[in-house]
């Protein structure tokens, strides 16, 4: 045990075994997954992200959304993740490795200080773009006891000159709502972030994640 070669060789071997299994193997297999062709529509799943959504991903990372919001739906036999979305249509399914093919980085997450966002963009949950902006600008104006930080630094408050802007966020209340004659407009960062959030839909079929019974 007091010989250096044995110590170095042994520690090398224990580390290398785990490295091969938990790093090299996923790199060689999961890292080379391809999108699947949808037989019904001929489109690719998971669908490619729009340029706006790709840019929004960076804003999502820069502001650390992932420290509170996971994007990980676990199977029904294990957790209530799917049962929490009873109205979803088509039904929410578990997320699998291929779902993160377009994510860079993969925002799987470790905490749920806020709700899971894997399917935030499904229509039945988000009525309109304006709602997303209202929520980001003034979270407690939308969910009264929300502990989400306000991202109003991604918005500009400005005086209305002539016609109000088409982009202006409407329905704002509370201390940071615009005074009469003023409007709140999203910056480019806020626009791309909203586009990314709307793109979060894991409702396309994948062969490795068939629909499963909730009970």
């Amino acid at each position: 045990m007091n010989r250096m070669p044995l110590l170095i060789f042994g520690t090398f071997l224990t580390f290398a075994s785990a490295w091969l299994a938990l790093v090299a193997y996923p790199y060689l297999t999961l890292g080379h997954l391809e999108p699947v062709v949808d037989e019904a529509t001929g489109s690719l799943n998971p669908p490619t992200l729009s340029g706006l959504a790709v840019a929004g991903q960076k804003i999502y990372a820069a502001n650390g959304c992932v420290y509170c919001h996971s994007q990980d739906v676990r199977p029904a036999y294990l957790t209530a993740d799917i049962a929490r979305e009873p109205e979803a249509d088509p039904k929410v399914r578990r997320t699998v490795a291929r779902d993160y093919l377009r994510s860079q980085p993969a925002f799987v997450g470790t905490l749920r200080i806020g709700p899971d966002l894997a399917n935030y963009g499904l229509e039945n949950r988000v009525a309109a773009l304006n709602d997303i902006h209202r929520h980001l600008y003034d979270p407690r104006g939308v969910v009264s006891r929300s502990i989400m930080p306000s991202y109003r630094y991604l918005y500009k408050m400005r005086k209305i000159s002539g016609q109000p802007s088409n982009d202006a966020v409407t329905g704002l209340t509370g201390p940071h709502a615009p005074a009469p004659g003023f409007e709140v407009v999203p910056s480019q960062d806020a626009k791309v972030l909203a586009a990314y959030l709307l793109s979060l839909k894991r409702n396309y079929p994948l062969p490795e994640a068939p629909e499963e019974p909730t009970e």
Binding site: A18, L22, V23, N63, L101, P105, R112
Partner: protein
């Protein structure tokens, strides 16, 4: 001070590593204060979201990674590198030549951490746990680490004949593992990121590896050295040391994937993580038995030796954290408590309880030997100890109980998500108060450190005395 004055009062081996080790410890103390401050700010924001609201650089999602990185890379890694250098030179009885290189590396490392933390609060984070720093910063950190690690291995190579201790095994292993780990994590997730589908297992393995393959071995090395040294005893069993070391090396490398149960990775990877977390119980038990066995009947020594007091608390946290980790890795348990505050408590216990308490003990032991002078104020050491012990203990208990309630609320589809937040809030409030206690404790430690170093720098050299214990 002339170099002859130093060597006449301080052991020549200690004198040779004095400057690099003090630079590491000084930077570490500053990062500890900043890191706990940022963590307390985040904890307050969690219960009072309007607090300092609306500033991009103070938003919760930037303060959290800044705090975690300041604590892991700024505080714990700097302190760990200093402790590793000191232990390797002390154990091998080799003086450190060319101290300029490790001093430069220490400054470079801390400059890198500074750039990284600034980048995170400025909004250049990649949002991968413990890999938030931009790619160019990781290059700086990697190069700085290699410089120190090479020096550490050289110290081990040149050790005096027959001088190998359990501590050296852990230190050599940690100095070899971390560069590989850090290079892998950055190469595959930051510099040239792999497809998102492969990132989850690599990221989970990396973040648990930083604690279990880098900071934990250094902390264990320190405990294995300090406890017998302070008590003037031998370790209970040399064979247990071997079993503990090799089983720790084997199982600690496989940790991380158990938390991804039901997640986007192959099921066998989750199983491997669960098996490793549970089997890690063997080395944890063996190491704890050996260390507590050495201590048995001598606990009153913790009254007069702050180093021993901190180290024993750290070993206790080690046992608790890894036993809790094994329980939390079981799939049926993980399914309920993943994504809850239980994991925040677990992380705090590992980083601030186990690793940091042992590092505090080591610093309280090493610095007087480097300076040839005792600590300036015993009262501050006691304040530091009790603020950390009580603060961490209460925070861990609250986060665990709050997380249990939160986990059952999230697992019941009839309970609205907002209610899970409401249930956790009172527990988070107490945890935030504890975080403030940790800031005060860190300030006691940093204040004492700089006061003691400054007194030595200012006083005439004739008044120095040799250190008693």
């Amino acid at each position: 001070m002339t170099s002859s004055a130093k060597t006449s009062l301080v052991d020549p081996v200690d004198a040779s590593v004095r400057l690099p080790v003090l630079v590491f410890f000084g930077c570490a103390a500053c990062w500890l204060v900043l890191g706990t401050f940022l963590a307390a700010l985040a904890a307050i924001k969690l219960v009072w979201p309007q607090f300092l609201d609306g500033f991009p650089f103070l938003t919760y999602g930037r303060v959290v990674p800044a705090a975690v990185n300041a604590l892991v890379y700024g505080w714990a890694s700097s302190a760990g590198l200093g402790i590793a250098l000191w232990l390797l030179s002390r154990l091998g009885r080799v003086p450190l030549n060319y101290a300029v290189l490790p001093i430069t590396a220490a400054l470079l490392w801390n400059f890198g951490v500074f750039l990284g933390v600034c980048s995170v609060v400025a909004g250049y984070s990649r949002s991968i746990l413990l890999l938030e720093f931009p790619g160019f910063v990781s290059v700086i950190l990697f190069v700085a680490y290699l410089c120190v690690a090479v020096w550490g291995i050289v110290l081990f190579r040149n050790r005096a004949a027959g001088a190998v201790f359990v501590s050296s095994w852990y230190l050599v292993a940690a100095l070899l593992w971390f560069p590989w780990l850090y290079f892998t994590g950055n190469a595959l997730l930051i510099w040239n990121p792999v497809a998102g589908s492969a990132q989850a297992p690599i990221a989970a393995w990396f973040s648990s590896g930083v604690i279990s393959l880098w900071l934990a071995p250094v902390a264990l090395a320190s405990a294995y050295y300090l406890i017998p040294q302070i008590l003037g005893r031998r370790l209970v069993s040399y064979n247990l040391c071997q079993l503990g070391f090799w089983s720790f090396a084997l199982f600690a490398a496989w940790l991380g994937t158990a938390q991804l149960v039901g997640g986007p990775i192959p099921a066998w990877m989750v199983s491997a993580g669960v098996v490793a977390s549970v089997l890690l119980f063997i080395p944890v038990l063996v190491i704890s038995l050996n260390l507590f066995g050495t201590l048995s009947g001598a606990y009153e020594a913790t009254h007069w030796s702050p180093s021993l007091r901190f180290t024993v608390a750290g070993v206790g946290a080690f046992l608790l954290a890894y036993v809790a980790g094994a329980i939390l890795a079981l799939p049926s348990v993980a399914a309920v408590f993943d994504f809850t505050d239980v994991l925040i408590g677990q992380g705090a216990l590992l980083l601030l309880g186990f690793v940091s308490m042992i590092f505090f003990g080591a610093i309280y032991y090493i610095v007087p030997r480097l300076l040839g002078r005792e600590w300036e104020c015993d009262g501050l050491i006691r304040w530091h100890f009790w603020l950390f012990l009580v603060g961490l203990g209460v925070a861990y208990t609250c986060l665990t109980f709050g997380g249990i309630v939160q986990g059952y609320a999230l697992g019941d589809p009839a309970v609205r998500f907002e209610s899970s937040v409401g249930f956790a809030t009172p527990f988070r409030l107490v945890a935030a108060l504890c975080a403030i206690a940790l800031v005060v404790g860190s300030k006691c430690f940093a204040g004492l450190f700089f006061r003691t170093v400054l007194v030595v720098l200012e006083e005439p050299k004739s008044s120095k005395e040799a250190v008693a214990v």
